[in-house]
């Protein structure tokens, strides 16, 4: 039982029910699609990057509670950051969900820390990291 409530922490369930930034973004200047062929999950991440900062971030798509909550929390977490900061955050998030204890001070990971339970479920790591990979691809793509 502990395992399941560790995986699906209340914050995750809440973001799954009411995801933030789940919308089209007509003024986005970066976009990428992510696809997990194993489970059919699809996510589109859109960003507006101006003056070297991510001014806005949004996503759409279908996926499990973990991937949906991850996308929701990610879009909130990267707003206002530089692309380098977002990439660094992804790196630390990835360390967290793959069970590396030095992932960093949970306090500085903020809400992302709720994904710590994913590390006990290796098959779900891809669910949690799909939005991040997609965000990174959007950052690396040319302007729309």
């Amino acid at each position: 039982m502990a395992g399941l409530s560790e995986l699906y922490q209340n914050v995750i369930l809440e973001h799954n029910r009411s995801p933030r930034n789940y919308r089209a973004m007509p003024d986005a200047n970066r976009e990428a699609q992510g696809h997990n062929p194993l489970c059919g999950d699809q996510v589109t991440v859109r960003l507006r990057v101006e003056d070297g900062r991510i001014r806005d971030a949004a996503f759409q798509g279908m996926g499990c509670a973990i991937s949906r909550a991850s996308a929701s929390i990610m879009t909130a977490a990267i707003k206002g950051r530089t692309p380098e900061e977002a990439a660094e955050l992804f790196h630390r998030f990835h360390r967290l969900v793959t069970g590396h204890p030095e992932a960093g001070n949970p306090e500085t990971l903020g809400k992302l820390a709720v994904f710590s339970g994913v590390s006990a479920y290796p098959i779900r790591v891809k669910c949690a990291s799909l939005p991040w990979h997609t965000m990174k691809a959007a950052l690396d793509s040319p302007d729309l």
């Binding site: 399941l4 194993l38 059919g40 499990c64 509670a65």
Partner: protein, 433 residues
């Protein structure tokens, strides 16, 4: 049982004497409790709960007799087969040949020469595509499959179609997940050279009327391949009664080990087919320039075959026949019936695939909740089901969903396990509400 290899829902009486039981346990009464004791893994726990294993369409668990046979082979019987001029190699060769004979008997083949050991169903189908297909298919020839095939009975045909210029056609399925027979018959033509069809859909459980399809196909001069990966564990198979030219199945779904599968091929066809892999064991004579081929089945078994696995498979078939398909189909039918009743009644659950004739598979979605999340809740209860596209993406697309949950049953499952599944699904709403 009205038709061999065709009846699933025929069984009605539970716990009937297994009158068809053969040598392994003559006259034994069907007792699921006794059967469960033969499978050591069924006594284990997962996440602190007794394992409820409902992923039998992916792979079945193994009885102790199979585990022992493999262990015994490696402990006291291991040697490579053929040409070993010593006792151990002779014994291994005899055991491997006997396994082939056992499989021939299980499938109703005329001769063990019609049985090729492969790595599994996938390799068996690729063998036919690459050997028969490469030799026989010409530009404009047609291959007819269905929209409910596992990727392993689709992609080998896509590849050979691309290589030969043949045209691949797929007959659609209905909203119930049944083959659209009218459409299938319309797609069958004098251009159809090969018909490939799954006996039972791994994603939906649909049982196809293979005998009828084979008859129509062969009347048009087409060769018929049946993907029996899902049917061989659940129905008595008689390749002659089915009227097919090729039949492919996997050892590991039949309570045997992984790494061994079977291709049945009608002798007349196998004899005319060229090799598809070259190596040791498949030749008659070799010079540096060219070689001549061994007769089937050796022609199609290049390299050291899965010896221990074939021997383990033969023991698994003894086990299955010991229970008998009459008892197996009756019990599995009862499990499926109860599952449809209980799971189908849960609010928000939609069954995917409701064919009138199906076997041992319950595919479903829970509205608004991703199959992976449902699967995680069930896993927390020790219940093993599969969540995903089941290597049948065209089927998922047909139903407009990315994935389903699939519970698939075996004769060792119990009604209590089906009830545990339904209870677990009830908990899904509590978590994701």
């Amino acid at each position: 049982m009205p038709e061999t290899g065709e009846s699933v829902r025929g069984g009605s009486g539970l716990l009937e004497p297994a009158s068809s039981a053969s040598s392994a346990a003559p006259g034994r009464l069907f007792s699921v409790d006794a059967i469960r004791r033969d499978f050591p893994i069924l006594g284990t726990t997962v996440r602190g709960r007794p394992l409820v294993y409902l992923d039998n369409a992916a792979t079945s668990q193994k009885p102790q007799t199979v585990i022992d046979a493999i262990s015994r082979f490696y402990a006291t019987g291991n040697a490579n087969i053929h040409r070993g001029v010593y006792a151990l190699s002779e014994q291994a060769t005899v055991a491997y040949d006997q396994a082939r004979l056992r499989v021939a008997r299980f499938l109703g083949a005329s001769s063990p020469a019609e049985i090729v050991f492969t790595r599994g169903t996938t390799e068996a189908i690729n063998l036919v595509a690459q050997s028969w297909g490469r030799a026989q298919l010409r530009r404009g020839d047609e291959i007819l499959v269905t929209a409910m095939e596992h990727h392993s009975n689709l992609i080998p045909w896509q590849l050979i179609a691309e290589q030969t210029g043949a045209v691949l056609r797929a007959a659609p399925i209905t909203g119930q997940g049944e083959l659209d027979l009218d459409a299938w018959h319309r797609l069958l033509s004098d251009r159809t050279r090969l018909v490939a069809v799954t006996h039972i859909s791994n994603a939906l459980g649909t049982l196809n009327p293979v005998r009828e399809l084979a008859e129509a196909a062969r009347a048009r001069g087409a060769v018929v391949l049946v993907d029996g990966a899902q049917s061989a564990p659940h129905l008595p198979i008689d390749v002659h009664a089915l009227g097919c030219d090729f039949f492919a199945c996997s050892g590991h779904k039949l309570y045997g080990p992984t790494g061994v599968g079977v291709l049945y091929g009608r002798a007349e066809l196998l004899e005319r087919m060229p090799p598809w892999q070259g190596g040791g064991g498949m030749i008659a004579s070799v010079t540096l320039e060219r070689s001549t081929w061994a007769e089937p089945p050796a022609r199609f078994e290049a390299g050291t075959p899965p010896i221990a696995e074939a021997i383990g498979l033969a023991v698994a078939l003894d086990y299955v026949d010991g229970i008998g398909f009459q008892a197996i189909t009756a019990w599995e039918d009862a499990l499926l019936h109860r599952a449809v009743e209980l799971v189908g009644a849960i609010p928000g659950v939609r069954l995917v695939g409701t064919a009138s004739r199906r076997a041992a598979v319950l595919s479903f979605v829970v509205e608004g909740i991703h199959p992976h999340d449902v699967g995680a809740v069930l896993d927390d209860e020790g219940i093993a089901v599969r969540a995903g596209h089941h290597c049948a993406q065209p089927v998922m697309r047909h139903f407009g969903i990315p994935a389903t949950l699939r519970a698939s049953f075996s004769f060792y499952n119990t009604l209590e396990e089906v009830e545990a599944l339904a209870r677990g699904l009830g908990r899904v709403r509590e978590v994701f509400g």
